[in-house]
């Protein structure tokens, strides 16, 4: 056997490696990337050119309208109309009139909320975003305190701040000949209801041979909380009263969207549980309720709550227009929420239910401590998507005569001070921008949560 290592001069095998050569210039760099990605074959080339042409047709005019030709300062319509239209701009000019948006900015945000009270709305916005942001970021500590702030303190405080509080109760349960309508009668009624509930609770506890103490504590706690909230609403904080027909703009949009989603959560949970229940009547009622609301358009629901709902109420009972819309929106979104939550409930493995039952938990304990926390976390993206849908749907209230964000922009078109051909285009562009920022932000959050909750294995 020949030993090749002895006569190295005859080596067939290379002793040292070649240095790495750069990739051929046709395979790297911008040019190659463009060729591979954009012009790899004839139809890709055609597509690229077509799409680039479409972009060329759309994007430069939009930028010219929004920035280059836009008017940023001005006091009235003259700044935003051409000479032929009685203004100062050259003929053929077409650009956004941001000066008009600036002049109307307060109305777009607050509606006709009194100027001197706008700080109250600002405080509510601040509390809302300040309370929500840390709740939505998973790594921020003190979630429990945060949840209490958002679900208990924030709603009460914003109700008082927005309406002015200082409600006057007169009670309505006890007949007039027993007690005159007064705050005293109202509080007596609250005490009586508490006593009746206590009697029922203790009665059931006795009948089932169980300890009545937790029931008593629960009832007292619940009624106590309600009494404290109602008492806070009645305190005179020295805030002037602002009726809801003066609310408007982004305020109304956010009030409807947030109240709608907050009210639809508990109703949705109840409906989802009802739909999965073994009790035939409960199941039937839930299915009919959910399918009915999901089968009709929101606009008919709003018509119904504004035209039909007053007919079903006893004479003399009048609901505020905003409140009626809120009821419609809440019931409508509750049906959608119920389906989202049902998806979460169905995704929980059966072992979780069986494990909870084996531990001897009652139905509500099992739901509260084992099932719902898992199911609700799982469907956070779905809940956020429902919220985005609801946020976009709030625009429909302008059809029944409420002035939400889009509604107050439309309302501003009627003012002759700024009337010009570009006014509508500017207003709609601004509305589109604001809605896009809100919805896009939320959808990014939903996608982030989806990635975070995705454990990488599907059952």
């Amino acid at each position: 056997m020949a030993d090749t290592s002895k006569n190295a001069s005859l080596a067939f095998v290379r002793n040292d490696m070649l240095t790495e050569a750069a990739a051929p210039s046709g395979a790297v760099g911008t040019v190659a990337w463009i060729r591979n990605n954009l012009f790899s074959n004839w139809y890709n080339t055609v597509l690229t050119l077509l799409v680039l042409y479409i972009a060329y047709v759309i994007i430069p005019p939009v930028i010219r309208f929004g920035f280059i030709d836009a008017v940023w300062t001005g006091t009235d319509r003259q700044a935003c109309s051409t000479i032929a239209q009685g203004g100062i701009m050259p003929d053929g000019w077409f650009g956004a009139c941001w000066a008009y948006v600036d002049a109307y900015f307060n109305q777009f945000i607050y509606g006709r909320f009194p100027d001197e009270s706008e700080w109250r709305v600002n405080v509510v916005f601040l509390m809302f975003f300040g309370g929500l942001a840390p709740l939505l970021i998973p790594s921020v500590p003190m979630k429990r305190a945060n949840i209490i702030f958002v679900t208990a303190i924030f709603p009460v405080a914003s109700f008082v701040l927005l309406t002015g509080g200082n409600l006057h109760y007169s009670g309505f349960l006890l007949p007039d000949f027993l007690m005159e309508p007064s705050a005293l009668r109202f509080w007596t009624e609250i005490v009586l209801i508490t006593l009746i509930l206590l009697a029922i609770g203790v009665g059931i506890a006795r009948g089932t041979d169980s300890d009545p103490k937790p029931t008593i504590v629960a009832i007292l706690g619940f009624m106590g909380a309600i009494a404290v909230i109602l008492a806070l609403f009645a305190v005179d904080f020295g805030l002037s009263e602002v009726p809801t027909d003066r609310w408007g703009g982004l305020l109304v949009t956010l009030v409807i969207a947030v109240t709608g989603i907050a009210a639809s959560m508990p109703i949705g949970i109840a409906l989802a549980l009802g739909r999965r229940s073994n009790m035939p009547i409960v199941k039937l009622v839930s299915v009919v309720f959910i399918e009915f609301w999901r089968g009709v358009p929101l606009i008919t629901v709003l018509f119904m709550s504004s035209v039909m709902l007053p007919l079903f109420l006893p004479e003399g009972v009048h609901f505020d227009k905003l409140l009626r819309a809120l009821i419609g929106v809440a019931l409508f979104s509750a049906a959608y929420m119920a389906e989202v939550i049902r998806g979460g409930l169905q995704a929980i493995p059966k072992g979780q239910y069986e494990g909870a039952m084996a531990l001897g938990l009652s139905f509500w304990q099992m739901m509260r401590m084992i099932i719902l926390p898992q199911a609700l976390t799982m469907v956070i993206p779905g809940i956020v998507n429902t919220f985005i849908g609801l946020f976009k749907d709030t625009t429909l209230v302008l059809i029944i005569g409420l002035f939400d964000f889009l509604g107050s922009i439309q309302l501003s078109f009627t003012d002759p001070t700024w009337a010009s051909p570009v006014q509508q285009s500017t207003g709609f562009a601004f509305a589109a921008f604001v809605y896009f920022c809100f919805c896009f932000g939320m959808s990014r959050y939903s996608a982030y949560m989806e990635r975070r909750l995705d454990t990488g294995h599907k059952s």
Binding site: N37, T300, L396
Partner: protein, 398 residues
């Protein structure tokens, strides 16, 4: 120590009546039922009291009465002076169905194109599709409608100087004045040829499937089908002497005369609905195609199928299973969203019946009840049809 055999007769455990889950369940359900019945009874009582106090009639007698208002678009012969509220309902329903039907077709086409574009290897195509989806679905539909209606179609030229689209008629801010097809005597033969083509095509596709199952031989079903469905009527159309003439609109001072008018409300609503829904359908299509396992494509290539047949025979049939259920709900959403027509006064069901007719008669309960039940019916019908289709394409497991 041996285990003691405890053979006590335990019997049924003694449970307090209220702790028996069955009895408890029934108590809850009866309570729930009682509350619902109570609310309904009180509501109905209040309603009759309120109606009596406001002097509003109840019942469906109004349906036969003369409505007496004009409707800007009607697929049925509608006469302001003589037509009843029942007719108004039918006109509105047909307008809703027509816009929903055309909207669904357009949205599906746009949606599939954009959904596939989002998966393109071409960077420019992919990013433009992504921008389209994000922009269109994050802006409220009502704003879309306003932008199309007030921002685009209102800016079209005045009828006096309408844009001439040549063969397609005239376009101005009062609508699109399209040429109106007027069928002549022998046109029915073309229609008949079309129907015959479809029937023969169905027969051929059945026969070829059977033959392929038995012998493995394939038959160009698609090409033959196209030839039968479109070629045959075309030949008949030519040989019967082109029995279809178009009435072209003529530009006039106030509005063009003749032709077929497509009102701007219809166009705005259709464009808004289809472009908005297309963004959602695109996402569904993308998710459906991504849901097909990569191994399926690889296995198909390993069997020697080229790209086209792989897509057509392997990927798309499996993607459709994922796509169809959410697609159904998008179709339903589009139908329900067509009710936003009321914002720009396109005469759909909600606008003419739930709006104008309601304001004239004041019979809110009957009219809104009918409107809502109609939408509910459409929703249930569509989902029943799509469920049937879904069951057909669903995975048949052993």
């Amino acid at each position: 120590m041996a285990l003691q055999d405890v053979s006590q007769d335990v019997g049924q455990p003694k449970v307090a009546i209220f702790n028996d889950p069955k009895i408890r369940g029934w108590v809850y359900q009866i309570l729930l039922l009682a509350v619902i019945v109570y609310l309904v009874v009180v509501g109905v009582q209040n309603m009759f009291a309120n109606l009596a106090a406001q002097n509003i009639a109840s019942g469906f007698g109004f349906m036969g009465r003369n409505a007496g208002f004009a409707i800007s678009q009607s697929l049925l012969p509608y006469d302001q002076a003589a037509s009843s509220y029942g007719k108004v309902y039918m006109v509105g329903l047909l307008n809703t169905v027509s816009i929903a039907f055309i909207g669904v077709i357009l949205a599906t086409v746009f949606g599939f194109v954009i959904g596939i574009a989002r998966l393109s290897n071409n960077f420019v195509v992919r990013s433009v599709a992504t921008v389209y989806v994000e922009v269109f679905r994050n802006i409220p539909l009502l704003l879309h409608i306003f932008i199309w209606y007030f921002g685009v179609l209102r800016l079209l030229p005045h009828p006096r100087d309408s844009a001439d689209l040549g063969l397609l008629g005239l376009l101005n801010n009062r609508g699109w004045f399209a040429p109106k097809p007027i069928p002549q005597e022998l046109f029915f033969l073309t229609g008949a040829a079309f129907v015959i083509g479809i029937v023969v095509m169905l027969g051929i596709s059945n026969w070829s499937r059977k033959r392929q199952m038995e012998t493995g031989q394939q038959f160009p079903v698609f090409l033959t089908g196209m030839g039968l469905i479109f070629g045959l009527p075309f030949l008949v159309f030519v040989f019967t002497g082109l029995p279809l003439i178009f009435e072209y609109p003529v530009a006039g001072g106030f509005r063009p005369k003749g032709g077929m008018t497509i009102i701007p409300e219809f166009m705005a609503l259709l464009l808004a609905l289809s472009t908005y829904t297309a963004a959602f359908i695109a996402e569904i299509v993308r998710a459906g195609i991504l849901a097909v396992d990569k191994g399926q494509t690889e296995a198909s290539h390993a069997l020697g199928l080229r790209n086209g047949p792989t897509l057509r025979l392997v990927v798309i049939p499996q993607a459709m299973r994922v796509i169809i259920p959410p697609l159904t709900s998008q179709y339903l959403n589009l139908t329900k969203n067509s009710s936003l027509a009321v914002a720009i006064a396109y005469p759909d069901l909600v606008s003419v019946f739930g709006g104008t007719a309601l304001n004239q008669t004041g019979q809110a309960v009957e009219i809104l009840g009918m409107t809502m039940l109609t939408y509910l019916g459409i929703s249930l019908l569509t989902s029943a049809f799509m469920n049937w289709y879904n069951a057909r394409v669903a995975l048949v497991e052993r």
